[in-house]
Symmetry: C2
Subunit: 451 residues, 2 copies
């Protein structure tokens, strides 16, 4: 296994379940200090919701070793030799390098954060939040500096989650965003709701802004984020611009990469053209079942599934990964944000024509205490009425409702079918028509009328 | 329309959307005082979560009348004459009766609570909670009597919801239940979790107990609930034993009733054998898509859907009701209870063999604050692996997860497919494997091993 986080170690654990130590020797190379941790949990650790880094670690190296998985920490694979079935690894402490041969290889090298080539990008006080080591470095900065001003660059999932974390730490937070609205994974009309809510939380939102430099002070530390138009003072800067597949090794080994830089695999997650090399997690591209196209979706839930499937296959069993529908959920303070399937521009790109509807509803029956408002946007294909995508922005109870749409998308349901679903109803849980069904009903009416 | 609650008035409203007043005259007969109210909300009104009865009313008679729907309150239909296309109705205030002819008839007579023929059943202090009038009568009793002891007869949805309501009112609550465990809509092993939680809330649970009488005091008011073995003192008794379709009129008119006493309809909700009579809501039987059998499931969400479909069809459009999968969700204080699909005994009854698995998980990532435990039970068909049913008992965030399974059941998914679904994941919303998927994964492993 190259990579000791979600995909790699899930694969290792599952392969071990399939085959005992006398049948299969498992070695896992990890260049960092940790295994099997929740990178998705880092914002909540930084924000103080999770008080202890170790709580983010699902399984320590020692626990893996107790199950006869040979975890080699601080050991970076520097070359894959697929022809001879071996990898070269360097001990990052001693610098020593050695080749290790394999019968089966799992590539789970994850993703690396985008770090634009800007003046000051490497200055102290500028932090990514991709690994536990990153999170610890950021927390050290927060503890060391007396400042109260934070700038987050990027307004996607990591950006909004880090904005919440820094608000919770008592910082004045500015989010500098290249797009017109935050959460570019939503359509702009839904992203606007996120911006309004974030502004309401006291976060300064700077939209349509390209960062040009990260000016530093006399001490060499970052002191601001500069755009073409302005400069935003910062005691700490968090980069949340996104990630790219970490596939330097794979590229050098001549393995096939897709348009998004991710490894290309078959349905069993075997690397294309390879007999005994699998890949999963943030370093691969996945099939989007709605658009029929390949995408790069770095997300722990996929990585864990990939690992389980790879471990089953590498262990002599049979399992496949059918693909994704692009479901994601996040929150910033009490605002919940969810999406699945295609946005308007995704649908346009693949030539799908659609009706888009937006409705307002509530998380519970309107008369029930704490019924929280939510906005649901739904796209349905013209003619067929097939559900294409759903976006939800609201308060408590909004986010996980996207699962209804995620399952319906996977099943290829029409909005007429979604409107007729037998969903859980009682006043503390839902209005008599679930908000997703209110949207489906409106979309169905439009589709029927347009036929 | 015979019946002015969810199904009847949804049908009226939808028909009015389809046809203007010059095209279609709509008359709705309602024997009670209210229209379009949420009977499901009554426990929360009684419990004080909803402070005002009027908040349970979605649309008043005046609002309906403003849309040219002729609502006749306190007017009971006493006979349907399908041959001549007319109904006879009695004004309950004056006693006057008159025939009204129709071109199209909608039967939405709802359900009536089971009232066993027991000594004392009609004594003051014994209450059903089926209608707003019932709820008001119960609240009057609670306000009038100084007592603090309440006995709830029945431990289904109404029983557990009323137990919560009475706990919230400060009563000592005893629930007397005929079955071995509460919530007979769950398998007993899951019902046991509900009993344990209710006991933990200070509710006295009496299981395996048949009520033999409701003894009254010298003042004629109920003073206890008696079983073969014991007597439970009561200042107020709430009956939550269940309901039956209210189909006296339909039976007398020779309309077709099923094994559960509900009207039989086709997919467009037209009464079987009738050209111009539709029926929906608590008075009909519905197709269970999982078992392939007809069931009686009185629930507001179905009634509203039925009304919308009937109104579309009666208004000259086209809509059908595909059936249900048996989804229900409820809560007692902070315990959430949900189910969909088949229980073990349902599967046995229809000749389906299955694997049943039960898992423990949490509503959020284990390290995230307020991650609440939940238990998920899942049934999957042997061989095919088709999902058959899911039951969930847990705390906040447990109940609505049943929707994942409800959609998957409707789509006929296997547990292997459920385990691979792309569901919303982020630490505040879910563990990296959603609890429903943890169960699906376990079931899939069992199914594959048993092949």
């Amino acid at each position: 296994m190259i990579g000791g986080d979600a995909a790699g170690m899930s694969a290792a654990s599952q392969a071990r379940r399939m085959k005992g130590p006398d049948e299969l020797e498992i070695v896992a190379f990890e260049r960092g200090h940790f295994t099997s941790y929740s990178a998705c949990g880092i914002p909540y650790w930084v924000g103080g919701d999770v008080d202890d880094r170790d709580r983010l670690i699902a399984r320590t190296p020692e626990e893996h070793r107790a199950r006869d998985i040979d975890v080699r920490l601080r050991t970076e694979v520097t070359e894959i030799d697929v022809d001879r079935g071996r990898v070269r690894a360097r001990d990052l402490e001693s610098g020593a390098e050695a080749w290790t041969s394999y019968d089966k290889l799992v590539i789970a090298t994850g993703a690396r954060p985008v770090r634009p080539d800007l003046p000051g990008i490497d200055a102290p006080g500028v932090h990514g939040v991709q690994t536990l080591d990153d999170g610890q470095a950021l927390l050290d900065t927060l503890a060391r500096t007396g400042g109260r001003r934070a700038v987050v660059v990027g307004a996607g999932y990591i950006g909004v989650e880090m904005a919440e974390a820094l608000i919770n730490r008592g910082y004045e937070v500015t989010v500098v965003n290249r797009g017109r609205e935050p959460m570019a994974t939503l359509d702009p009309d839904m992203g606007r709701l996120v911006r309004e809510a974030m502004t309401g939380l006291g976060i300064t939102m700077v939209d349509d802004a390209e960062v040009t430099a990260l000016p530093t002070g006399a001490d060499g530390r970052v002191r601001a984020v500069a755009t073409a138009d302005a400069e935003y003072p910062a005691d700490v800067v968090v980069l949340g611009i996104g990630v790219r597949p970490e596939n330097t090794l794979a590229r050098d080994a001549g393995l096939p990469l897709g348009d998004h830089g991710g490894l290309l695999t078959d349905r069993s997650l075997r690397v294309r053209g390879q007999e005994n090399v699998w890949a999963g997690g943030d370093c691969v591209e996945v099939l989007d079942l709605v658009s029929g196209q390949l995408r790069h979706i770095p997300l722990g839930t996929h990585a864990n599934k990939h690992g389980q499937i790879i471990g089953t296959n590498a262990g002599g069993g049979y399992a496949t990964f059918p693909g994704v529908v692009g479901t994601a959920v996040s929150k910033v303070c009490d605002l919940e944000i969810a999406r699945t399937g295609l946005r308007e521009k995704d649908a346009h790109r693949v030539g799908l024509r659609f009706e888009a509807v937006t409705i307002e509803s509530t998380s519970r029956a309107g008369y029930y205490p704490n019924a929280a408002p939510m906005t649901v946007k739904m796209l349905a294909e013209l003619g067929t009425g097939r559900l294409l995508g759903v976006q939800i922005v609201g308060r408590e109870g909004a986010g996980k409702r996207v699962d209804i749409a995620a399952v319906a998308l996977t099943a290829g349901m029409t909005v007429h079918q979604v409107a007729a679903l037998d969903l859980g109803y009682a006043p503390p849980f839902s209005p008599v028509w679930d908000p997703v069904q209110v949207a489906a009903r409106k979309a169905a009416t439009r589709i029927t009328a347009s036929r």
